[in-house]
Point group: C2
């Protein structure tokens, strides 16, 4: 009620930032639009201007999560090295992001988004999987990876990565990293005897 200007300036971004913090601290159920509004110093209905309803805000948050995760994977894949080193680097990036943003990752893969947004999210998942296709195709060209549809291989690898983040959620970072190296080893060498 002081000298605060009538318009916030960038309420949408402020809400998203607050929402991510609240999500990490109290989960999606404990996230209240009114609380976010209070934190931003606006009226309780102001968020409605930027997000039709609470779900729309969560949808947007999930999308930003994918953008950032894909960015991290891009960095990791640019680190160079052989196919195996590159896959391991991307695995570390994925798992690192997952451990820093547990609740956000839950949200990103939650089966409760609006239909229209679900398409965008599926798109994001596609792009995410595509990030692995190039290193694998390059590895095939270099003779480091066996033949086969690189998209299929990338799908399996990405599925494994995601599974590790979910199943390993209860163990320490060191254990996860060790398990990650093990998993990459299994992925490359296969279960069948050589």
């Amino acid at each position: 009620m002081a000298d605060r200007p009538y318009h916030h300036g960038d309420l949408r971004a402020a809400l998203l930032a607050s929402a991510e913090r609240a999500l990490a601290e109290r989960g999606p159920a404990g996230l209240s639009l009114r609380e976010l509004a209070r934190e931003a110093g606006v009226s309780h209905a102001a968020p409605g201007r930027h997000f039709r309803d609470k779900q729309a805000l969560l949808d947007a948050l999930a999308l930003t999560g994918f953008e950032r995760l894909i960015g991290r994977l891009a960095e990791a894949s640019a680190s160079g090295g052989g196919a195996r080193a590159q896959v391991l680097a991307m695995a570390r990036a994925y798992v690192g992001f997952a451990m820093e943003h547990e609740a956000l990752l839950d949200l990103m893969y939650a089966h409760k988004h609006d239909p229209g947004v679900s398409e965008q999210l599926a798109d994001a998942v596609s792009r995410l999987k595509d990030m692995l296709v190039r290193p694998i195709a390059d590895g095939q060209a270099a003779g480091e990876i066996a033949g086969g549809d690189p998209v299929t291989l990338a799908s399996t690898v990405s599925a494994t990565l995601h599974g590790i983040t979910v199943f390993g959620a209860t163990v320490s970072p060191e254990e996860i990293d060790a398990g990650l190296a093990d998993a990459v080893h299994v992925l490359f060498e296969g279960l069948a005897p050589r």
Copy 2:
């Protein structure tokens, strides 16, 4: 308010059943204790006798989910056949359960449960991974699977299975099943050239 008896009979079970249906239809956020109470024909505070709060109900529901999923995996692993066939059967069981109970699976792996329950859930995940250890160890004894810690191998396989359910959520059942066979193939043959 007619001839309904004062006591419900098995309100706890009725609530869990209703909750699972509501969860599938409207997600965890759209699940209301009062609505469940209405469906069961009891007062809106009656559920409080069986579940301390809403989260406690979701916790219990997640636990029942793991019990059922583990049961399905046990059936699948009992189907016999070689190690590869058994892993594929368990993969189908896992993915089948996941597709029948999308929202429930989200809940089972959600990072928002009470600390005490989280231990039980971590326990359930452990038991789930253990289901894969025996087929793999047997496969090693039979020379169908390469050496190495069977627990590590099982962890990687289960992670891949779970990842497939999450990443494949948007495609048709047939596609998922095909992708599943592909993934099992990759898991056994490995990415590296032979």
